[in-house]
Structures are given as C-alpha cells and as structure tokens.
C-alpha cells in the first residue's frame, strides 16, 4: 500500500532521516519505535507531506507522493495525527471535526462518518460545543484522532497517541486504535510505549538516529533481546 524507498530528509543542514525504506501493507498495524529524536516524527511528517524528502521515493497505492503538498496527500487518503495532538484550541469540537472533512464535498458521507466518530468517541458528542483548548489531554487526543478520521483515510498515521495520557486513557486509546484498524483502516503507529505498541501491531520497525535498525514481526521483536534491552526497559 505504502512504500518508502531510501529517503533522506534534512532540517537545514541537519540530516534527520538517512536512507530509510519501509513498507506497509493494506489492513496492517505497523509500529515505529525508537529513542527520542530518532526521527520517527520526521518520517511521518515526510509521508504526510509536511516535509519534503531530499532524495528517495514514496509510493502510495502505486502513485508517487514524495514531495507532494500535504493537501494532495490528504486527498489521496492519508491522514496524520501529529505529535502533541495539535487540535485547534480556539475552535469548538464540532468545528475541529468539520475541518477534518475540509476537502470532502459529500455531505451524506460526512454525516455518516461523523456518526461513526461519535460511536468511537462518545465523549466528543457530549463536548460538541466546547472549545477544544479546554478539553482534557485525553479528550484532545480523541478529538485529534476523530478529526483525522473525518478525512476518511485509508492510511492513518498516529504519532505518539499515548503521550502524557493517564493509564486508563492510554488503554482506551489503544482499544480504539484496534477498532479503527478492524474497520479497514491501515495504521502506522509511532510510540514510545513500545510494549503496548508491539502488543497491537502486526509488524514493527526500530528507528535509530535516522536509520532503520531492525524490522520484523511484532512478536519476534518483542522477544528479541536487543529490543528488550534498548526499548522495553527489560533486563
């Protein structure tokens, strides 16, 4: 479904991504794990068009999308829930969700998807008219995901959805991620909480200083000594 081939990404002169290649198949949950500053967020931003790769190719459903503008990429069915949620704090929950469907014109479909979002996140329905900025952290995360789903994506990029959330909410969010996946959305998940991420993922890539250090089946990696040592906090 998505194929990233040898991309290099720079911030000014600093190279953040060094020749990364990866693949995501339809219907999978793939997770990226790695230390702080390894380049995970950068990779997601490059896929969603916020950053341009200097070299390399990104092919999505047979079409090259590397370096295209973000709005084109959203249109093709890739939605990105950025690190830190980034909800529009000065707007209501409802307006945030409407913006998620910014490029869509099918009124009917939008309505249906809105109902679907409320099914997944009943809390958002309760807070419809509230300013997004006054939501709690967990609610904001739900809103950010709901907003992304309003674009009707086939591939959802999630950047650290558990960050700063209470344990109870982390569980809820992960349950919902699995639910979303089951309705047919492919998911690329970046997580610090590697244990949890690996537990729901099909496959995983380990990112170290801008490179893919390891990749493979989620279960395999969970039991790998190397991963345990470095990322799972095991001994």
């Amino acid at each position: 479904m998505l194929k990233v081939d040898g991309i290099n990404v720079y911030y000014g002169n600093i190279q953040a991504i060094k020749g990364v290649s990866l693949e995501i198949n339809e219907g999978e949950i793939v997770t990226l794990i790695g230390a702080n500053g390894a380049g995970k967020s950068t990779l997601l931003k490059t896929i969603s068009g916020l950053l341009k790769p200097k070299q390399g190719k990104i092919v999505y459903e047979g079409k090259s999308i590397g370096g295209k503008a973000a709005q084109t990429i959203v249109k093709q069915g890739i939605s990105h829930v950025p690190e830190g949620r980034r909800v529009f704090a000065n707007m209501t929950v409802e307006e945030n969700l409407q913006l998620g469907a910014y490029l869509r014109k099918d009124k009917e479909g939008i309505k249906q998807d809105l109902d679907k979002v409320f099914e997944l996140f009943p809390r958002l329905l309760e807070r419809l008219k509230q300013q997004a900025g006054t939501l709690s952290g967990g609610e904001q995360q739900m809103l950010a995901m709901g907003r992304a789903l309003m674009a009707k994506p086939r591939l959802l990029l999630l950047d650290e959805p558990s960050m700063g959330l209470a344990p109870l909410l982390v569980k809820t969010i992960f349950r919902i991620i699995e639910e979303i996946n089951q309705t047919g959305t492919t998911i690329l998940l970046v997580e610090q909480n590697a244990n949890l991420a690996l537990s729901i993922a099909d496959r995983a890539y380990v990112v170290e200083t801008g490179r893919i250090a390891l990749s493979g089946d989620a279960e395999e990696l969970t039991s790998s000594e190397q991963v345990k040592m470095a990322y799972l906090g095991g001994h």
Partner: protein
C-alpha cells in the same frame, strides 16, 4: 522552625477559572526528605496545583506554607527564593542561552554583585562571576552535562533537555523540588535513566520532591507516598501499594490494577 512542622503544608487550597474549580479543598503535607507522587487523570488539576505552589496562580482559597511560613500571594520569584523550584510539563528552557548560562540564571538570586559593580567592572563583579561560573561547572558535572556546557540549550537532544531542566531547578537551591511529568515522551529505557537520576538527586541534595507522572512504573517505583487528584480534589493518598489497590483510584485513573 521545629522539626515537627512539615516542610510544606497546604491547607484547603483551591482555585477557580471562571466557573471551573480546577483545584479545590486540597490538603497536602510533605515532610523533609520525602519523595511523594501526585497522580490523577488528565485535567485533574495536577499542574494547576504546582502553579499554586509556585505562585504562578494565586489561590482563591486556602493557604500554603513552607517551613511554617505562609506563601500566599507572593510573587513567583520570591517563592523560588524561599525554596520551591520546579520543572515544567512542556520543557521551558532558555533556549538561546547556553547550557551553563541556563544554570547561572538559576544562581542569579545568590549573586552578591550589583548592577553598578557589573557596569563599572569593579573587582566584586569578577569575583562574583567567577564564583558563579565555577559553581555552575561543578554542578553540571554532577549531571554529566558539562560536555554540553557551551551548547545552546535548544540544540540539546530531548532527553538531555529534560535533564538540564531538572538541573536548572536544582541550581536554584530549593528545599522542595516539583517535577511535572519528567518522563513524558521518554521510552522505557530513558525512563529508567531518569529514575537513576532522581535517586542521585536525593542522595546528593537534601531535598523533598513532589512528582507528577503518568508512568506508573516510575511512580510506583520511586515514591514513598502518593496523592491522587481527580476533578481538583484529593481522592486518595497512601503508599504505592495502597494506591494501586484503591478502588476509587482504579476506577478514575488506573483502569484495572497495574502489575
């Protein structure tokens, strides 16, 4: 200042934002040398509680005292000078300043040389600055940050920035250190390093620590006692073992019990 007054005594403190009671009726007592956790769901008022302690917000009710001395309505910088210092949930370093200058800012209140002496460069300025510099270098060594001494703070890797923020807070020479989610955004490996750092701090400095954290492994692992906030109110307090099994806490915060 008898030894049986607690270091920090918060009596029925609360604050309202418009109609929202973000914190209400909170009573907390911390003894010298304790490491206490503060947990609770998102939006429970934990950070707001820190803001009350440090004077960023003025409590609309109740009182806060440190070492028996009331802190109400004092400017934040005065409270810091009295001995409470903190880190922030979102890192707030002085990003254009070098690592060592970040620490020196925290030493500022200890400086003995006046503005005039700096402007006219009298010997007092040089001795004051030299002393500050040497102290800061020594201090950074403890945190293993001396190799980054002259880097701008913004150029440090994330984990080191967190470390520097803690170091900077300690440089202000607090009796009570407040840490707001120091492990946020860290992977389990990095979290373990953080735990080691906290242990080191307790060993080297004579400190009381209040810690907000969502990482239960960390909280349960290092805290002597834990307070739990929900909707601005304390719903439980006790040892990690007690908290872990408290049904109210499980319902509001933990989900099912954590291993």
């Amino acid at each position: 200042m008898t030894t049986n007054t607690p270091l920090l005594k918060v009596d029925n403190a609360g604050i309202q934002f418009g109609g929202l009671k973000a914190v209400q009726g909170v009573n907390v007592e911390l003894d010298r040398g304790e490491l206490v956790g503060l947990i609770g769901p998102n939006g429970a008022g934990k950070t707001t509680f820190f803001n009350l302690l440090t004077g960023v917000y003025v409590p609309t009710e109740g009182s806060i005292s440190l070492n028996g001395e009331k802190l109400n309505k004092q400017a934040p910088y005065k409270i810091t000078r009295k001995g409470i210092s903190r880190t922030f949930q979102n890192i707030r370093l002085f990003s254009e300043l070098s690592v060592i200058d970040n620490v020196k800012v925290a030493y500022h209140s200890l400086a003995k040389h006046s503005i005039a002496s700096s402007i006219f460069r009298v010997p007092g300025h040089f001795s004051g600055e030299t002393e500050m510099h040497e102290k800061a270098v020594e201090f950074l060594k403890i945190f293993n940050l001396d190799r980054f001494m002259n880097e701008k703070a913004k150029n440090l890797p994330y984990g080191q920035q967190r470390r520097l923020e803690i170091a900077r807070a300690l440089a202000a020479n607090p009796k009570l250190l407040l840490l707001d989610e120091p492990a946020a955004g860290m992977n389990p490996q990095e979290t373990q390093e953080l735990m080691k750092l906290i242990a080191l701090i307790r060993e080297k400095f004579d400190l009381t620590v209040l810690l907000i954290e969502h990482d239960m492994a960390l909280v349960m692992g290092v805290c002597d006692r834990i307070y739990v906030l929900d909707h601005g109110q304390l719903i439980a307090q006790g040892t990690p073992a007690e908290i872990r099994n408290d049904p109210k806490v499980i319902e509001a915060y933990l989900g099912e019990e954590v291993s």
